[in-house]
């Protein structure tokens, strides 16, 4: 049992990767190479590099040739606070580029206890199966009896069948079975690995779930140094306002912030503020629905919510969440301010296994098209598909899951819907992934972050808020110009975004949560926690040699590999632009009223960003010199 974990690593890594071919059922364990670990660390580093190595150009994401990679990081399974994050990756059926998603909870540590750092699945099973991994052993078992079941039922049946309620499950729901392009994976019925359609990839492989359980030790090379670093980290949380707010209100605390700045993408980005937003604020959800504040494994922050609707037409509904993104996608975008409907819609998305962000965005886009007369009532199954119609939202979430009626088109996401209906302009996405988080028209650095992200529009691929709090002398020291501390200036901002992307990639490699490690309103604290302490814990855990500078370069290396993947698929500079609407239409209301992106300014930002990255100005392709310096490929 515990002693089986002997590997070439002194700690952290299980030292093995599990390779499963679903076509012929073969299962193979391969050792994790030391050099690979040193260069790519784990998690997203492993998955991105393996996808780059193993996939051919233009592989159909829903074909057996695609890989599905489930990866933990070296810190998962140790007592490192908030080391709970799992990466699930594949070529995305929604975007056609590199796809990955990140989920919290308990699965990722358990994968390590089961004896593996990562699982790489290929092929397609001839009938439904699930993968059962336990203490270094793995087998494919029939999932015929699970097919068609929603997430909670699937979890219940698996626990009953395996006679163990402590198993951890990464499953897809009916949406994955029906190849909804943005079907998600859900770990333990609670943690959504939402984006990029990883559930659809599972569906295409006839893989209902991956189940892990183990009792193997995750070693720690230098326990004394490890404990000192963990204690130092815990101290940095003292007095951290952001984590206190997260604990009290969860990510839903951002609702008030979005309203204050006027950066909602409400009504499919036709409004920047919401009338009646107080009804869907973090406080409102806490007061009406919160059952308990929860946390992922080993987390000191505890932003997770457990909520319930105990009365009214949707009772009883018990669900994790809602997150800020649930409220944004299922509230702001379709312009619904009834919190019970948002919570119910969120619950349904989790049960069917649908990414609520793309679902909400797609339905909101359809609402705009309907209101503009581009979609007729007949086309949308006779439903009055107008903004604010909560029943229509719930109706179409179910139809998306089963690709019924108009749900069939909605299930392809905004990009394909735009192409089919000749309404590209209203599809608010970058490289096929819908714009989340906020409307960046008054904040060009956010626009740049969303547009250059290697998985399509994403607010978590960078940290473009540094200019809101960095001091002039810090800006000068780190980015070469004090201008980075000036919110009005764009000078140095391309460099700032590139730096933040490399830096915020690191937690995705380690398996820790960015909310607990990479959030602060003090720039020195971003360095302290995100580089110094992270590196210290990595070294103490694994015993591998690494400096914080080298660790930063690991983040940069992974980002470049991801860029190479997308370049190989044919994506160039023109795909690193935000949606046209942000250049054409001004923000109609709120504090940023009248703002829109200016093409010249954006060009300049992108130029500077490419320069900071060492990528070709015309094409956005990483130069040979850049790749050589990073040791890629």
């Amino acid at each position: 049992m515990g002693k089986e974990t002997m590997s070439i690593f002194a700690g952290g890594y299980a030292g093995k990767i599990l390779y499963v071919n679903l076509t012929d059922g073969s299962i193979e364990k391969r050792p994790l190479e030391r050099d690979f670990a040193l260069k790519y660390i784990g998690g997203r580093g492993f998955s991105s590099r393996i996808l780059w190595d193993e996939l051919e150009t233009k592989t159909d994401p829903l074909s057996p040739d695609n890989r599905l990679i489930i990866a933990a990081g070296p810190l998962n399974g140790t007592p490192t606070p908030s080391a709970s994050r799992l990466v699930v990756a594949a070529k995305s059926p929604l975007t056609g580029i590199l796809g990955d998603t990140n989920s919290g909870g308990y699965f990722s540590p358990e994968l390590k206890y089961s004896g593996f750092d990562a699982i790489v699945l290929r092929g397609r099973s001839s009938s439904p199966v699930y993968l059962w991994v336990r203490d270094g052993k793995a087998e494919l078992r029939s999932a015929k009896h699970l097919w068609g079941h929603k997430i909670s039922e699937t979890n219940h049946l698996l626990k009953e069948e395996l006679g163990d309620e402590d198993i951890h499950i990464c499953a897809m729901g009916p949406a994955g079975e029906n190849l909804v392009r943005y079907a998600c994976v859900i770990t333990d019925g609670e943690g959504a690995g939402g984006r990029c359609g990883m559930g659809a990839v599972m569906g295409s492989k006839n893989l209902k779930a991956v189940v892990v359980r183990g009792s193997q030790d995750v070693g720690i090379a230098d326990p004394k140094r490890f404990k000192e670093a963990v204690d130092a980290y815990r101290q940095t949380l003292e007095g951290e306002v952001w984590t206190d707010v997260l604990r009290r209100l969860g990510t839903a605390n951002l609702v008030a912030h979005r309203q204050k700045l006027g950066i909602w993408g409400a009504k499919n980005f036709q409004r920047a503020t919401i009338e009646g937003w107080e009804k869907i604020s973090g406080e409102a959800f806490r007061e009406r629905f919160l059952v308990k504040v929860m946390g992922c494994m080993g987390c000191m922050v505890r932003c997770r919510r457990y909520s319930a609707i105990k009365e009214g037409p949707f009772a009883p509904t018990y669900t994790k969440g809602p997150e800020y993104e649930s409220i944004n996608s299922l509230g702001a975008k379709p312009y619904i301010t009834d919190p019970a409907i948002i919570l119910r819609a969120h619950y349904l998305c989790d049960e069917y296994g649908i990414d609520e962000q793309t679902a909400g965005s797609s339905i909101a886009m359809a609402m705009e098209l309907y209101e503009r007369g581009i979609l007729t009532k007949e086309q949308v199954d006779g439903v009055e598909l107008v903004f604010g119609n909560g029943e229509a939202l719930l109706h179409f979430i179910e139809k998306i899951a089963y690709r019924r009626g108009f749900g069939d088109l909605l299930a392809d996401g905004t990009k394909i819907m735009g192409e089919r209906l000749k309404a590209d302009y209203y599809a608010i996405h970058v490289k096929g992934l819908e714009v989340d988080a906020s409307d960046p028209r008054s904040l060009p650095t956010r626009a740049l972050t969303y547009a250059v992200s290697t998985r399509g529009s994403c607010h978590l691929r960078g940290f473009p808020y540094i200019d809101e709090f960095i001091k002039p002398e810090e800006a000068k020291a780190y980015f070469g110009t004090e201008a980075v501390s000036n919110l009005e200036s764009l000078e140095g901002k391309g460099k700032m975004v590139a730096w933040s992307e490399n830096w915020v990639t690191i937690p995705n490699l380690m398996g820790v949560c960015i909310f607990a490690w990479n959030r602060s309103r003090s720039f020195p604290m971003l360095i302290r926690r995100g580089l110094e302490l992270m590196n210290e814990i990595f070294v103490a855990t694994t015993g591998l040699p690494m400096t914080k500078e080298e660790l930063y370069h690991c983040g940069e290396r992974v980002y470049n590999v991801e860029k190479l993947f997308n370049v190989r698929e044919g994506f160039r500079r023109e795909s690193d632009y935000p949606p046209l609407r942000f250049f054409e239409e001004e923000l109609p209301d709120g504090p940023g009223k009248g703002s829109k992106l200016k093409r010249e300014e954006y060009d300049q930002l992108l130029d500077e960003y490419y320069e900071a990255r060492g990528w070709d100005q015309k094409t956005g392709i990483p130069t040979p010199a850049t790749l050589k310096a990073l040791g890629v490929p």
């Binding site: 515990g2 326990p223 457990y306």
Partner: protein
């Protein structure tokens, strides 16, 4: 966190399977940590055939002398709360030892719900809660 830090303190590894405290999930958001209650008349100590389980009178805890334990699991069978297990690696009885008086699960509990207390203090706490309840009742009537 309590499970992780427990396995780290006792074995210098991360492995909840070797923790002497366990969080039991009851569903719908209910999670309850369970560990040794340090009984006044401990059945585990009474039934141990080799005397491996003993009470350290200086700290008042029931502890395990590992080299005497034969791994028969009688203690596991009789413990009313399930707080004694056989260690996955060493195969001998393992139970909470309060970390030499400074329980790490209490020190690292993010929610600060774990506390080290004795029966007297706990009874006093309960009385205080009950007194508050009585005060409310009186106040209403």
């Amino acid at each position: 966190m309590c499970e992780l830090i427990c396995s780290f303190h006792h074995h210098q590894v991360g492995n909840p399977g070797r923790a002497r405290i366990r969080v039991i999930a009851l569903g719908q958001g209910e999670d309850i940590p369970v560990t040794c209650l340090n009984c006044e008349k401990p059945p585990c100590l009474d039934i141990c055939p080799t005397g491996a389980l003993y009470r350290d009178e200086s700290v008042g805890m029931v502890l395990v002398q590992q080299d005497l334990c034969i791994g028969c699991a009688m203690c596991v069978n009789v413990c009313p709360v399930g707080a004694v297990t056989l260690d996955l690696v060493e195969g001998v009885a393992a139970k909470c030892d309060l970390c030499e008086g400074d329980p790490q699960c209490v020190a690292y509990c993010p929610a600060k719900v774990l506390k080290l207390t004795d029966a007297g203090q706990f009874a006093k706490y309960r009385m205080k809660e009950f007194a508050k309840f009585l005060k409310c009742q009186v106040g209403e009537n």
